[in-house]
């Protein structure tokens, strides 16, 4: 085995892990700032300039809070819940192409940790097991609100996974590959998938909101009805893990949307700039992060605009609107591809 390869992959994985953690950390601050701005307030601005130290203060506070565990809780599962949520949230970043590649000393280093040939399915599998952390935590708390939150999370996830899967299938049909690296590489320049799959993009976006438990689909932790939902009984850093995982999920979802539909690290007129390969890759990674930032902003924008769905409305939207639309989208894509191949 080539040791430099292992070291390079290890470094890349560490860097991406740190980036996703820092981004998620500051996403909490940006979320609160945005909430403030949307409501004509300033948001947190006391800890450091513009509240730049607020995430650290929050983290410190969570660490020093009392660790509380309900007497009748299932001890092992109670701890397993938040850990699992965090672990699963961090797993997806392995297959996202964060940039094309960098050439150092004649060797090409890809900026994707693992370009497995079933990248999309891997993401989908991680998504589908993401609900375990919430369900286990909600059940182990031995609290009615937590249980209801967990059950809501489970049924919501299952319902929206179907439509999301179908939205992804159209992308797979179009590109003819399951590898995320290749899907992004095919959207070279301005040839983004969103121009061919506007409906698919829209379905994916709505399902991404539902899968990350973000408003208007945040029923599992609906404060008005369920106190805190699945994390009612959690405190200290265990609660912090749940809240933090939500922001990591948001970051990963934004990255997925950008790479599936908005060309990932590709940006318009990238061939006309006449830059070297390495400079272009770095610029591409920057473009990718700009896209991620935009979708992160969209997540927050929607959260502070739209009211929460009622549970029956959520189910109706999932089963009776999104899934039929997704099926129609698959059929239309299939027909267009068939006509194209016969011409």
């Amino acid at each position: 085995m080539d040791y430099s390869f292992i070291i390079y992959k290890f470094t890349l994985a560490t860097v991406i892990l740190i980036i996703s953690l820092v981004v998620a950390m500051y996403a909490t601050l940006i979320e609160r700032k945005m909430a403030g701005f949307f409501q004509d307030r300033h948001g947190p601005n006391r800890a450091g300039k513009f509240g730049i130290l607020q995430p650290l203060a929050d983290g410190l506070k969570l660490f020093f809070k009392e660790e509380f565990m309900p007497q009748s809780a299932d001890k092992f599962l109670y701890i397993l819940g938040p850990s699992l949520t965090m672990l699963i949230a961090l797993l997806t970043s392995a297959v996202i192409p964060w940039g094309s590649s960098i050439v150092i000393g004649g060797t090409e280093y890809s900026l994707q940790i693992a370009d497995i040939n079933i990248g999309i399915l891997y993401v989908f599998a991680i998504l589908s097991i993401g609900v375990y952390g919430i369900m286990i935590g909600g059940w182990a708390s031995n609290n009615k609100y937590a249980l209801i939150g967990a059950i809501r999370a489970a049924s919501q996830m299952i319902s929206y996974e179907l439509a999301m899967g179908m939205a992804i299938i159209t992308i797979v049909m179009m590109t003819g590959t399951l590898s995320l690296g290749e899907i992004v590489a095919q959207q070279h320049g301005f040839n983004w998938n969103v121009w061919y799959q506007p409906l698919g993009f829209f379905l994916f976006l709505v399902c991404a909101f539902a899968e990350t438990n973000r408003a208007p689909f945040d029923l599992p932790e609906c404060e008005t009805e369920l106190v805190g939902g699945y994390h009612t009984e959690y405190s200290s850093m265990k609660l912090g893990f749940y809240l933090f995982a939500e922001y990591i999920n948001m970051f990963i979802s934004a990255a997925m949307i950008s790479s599936l539909y908005f060309g990932g690290y590709n940006f318009p007129f990238m061939d006309d700039l006449g830059l070297s390969h390495n400079a272009l890759s770095l610029l591409g990674s920057l473009a990718f992060f700009v896209k991620i930032t935009f979708f992160g902003f969209l997540f927050m924008w929607v959260r502070w605009t739209l009211p929460r769905f009622r549970y029956d409305q959520l189910m109706r939207l999932g089963w009776k609107t999104l899934i039929p639309l997704a099926i129609v989208n698959v059929i239309i894509t299939g027909l267009v591809l068939m006509i194209k191949n016969h011409m």
Binding site: N117, S128, M135, W139, I151, I323
Partner: protein, 166 residues
């Protein structure tokens, strides 16, 4: 070499989890152990270079079916002691039935000549391309029939969801 150790590790995890499914007192624990067993089996698929199968296994079993199991078990609240009357005659019958099934299984597999795959990592059958070719050429009809079955089930679910259908 490494894959050999991983194989032993995954196998022991799978067997332990499978045993715990039967042994654990709480139904929720049984379900979670079953999920763990599924993950161990998915690991075996990856060792056999069948990534597609592994991921689909996780999506379908761990991601969908087991979540539904967990969902149902949570709602049923089976924690109450003495839910199932365990009379001696029932235990006796269970032992006989289980033993018979074991004998049948042993009898079936004894006559089979199990093929040992050499160099499983070079085996390409589990990759998407080969699997797709096999599915869409040799087993096209069963595959399409399955799809129609699934579609019917999905349409049925949507229909059940409709309130005001006569």
């Amino acid at each position: 070499m490494l894959s050999k150790y991983i194989f032993y590790f995954l196998s022991s995890v799978a067997i332990y989890a499978a045993l715990m499914v039967l042994i654990s007192k709480k139904p929720i624990h049984s379900v979670l152990y079953l999920t763990l067993a599924f993950f161990a089996i998915a690991g075996h698929y990856i060792l056999l270079n069948a990534q597609f199968l592994a991921v689909v296994h996780i999506i379908v079993y761990a991601g969908a079916i087991m979540v539904l199991f967990l969902f149902t078990v949570m709602l049923l609240n089976l924690n109450i002691e003495g839910e199932f009357p365990k009379k001696n005659i029932i235990k006796f019958a269970a032992v006989i039935v289980g033993g018979l099934i074991l004998i049948t299984l042993i009898g079936t597999f004894r006559t089979y000549d199990l093929e040992i795959i050499k160099n499983p990592t070079l085996n390409q059958i589990g990759l998407v391309k080969n699997l797709g070719k096999v599915l869409f050429k040799e087993y096209l009809l069963p595959f399409e029939l399955c799809s129609i079955l699934f579609l019917a089930a999905m349409v049925g679910a949507v229909m059940l969801g409709k309130k005001d259908i006569q």
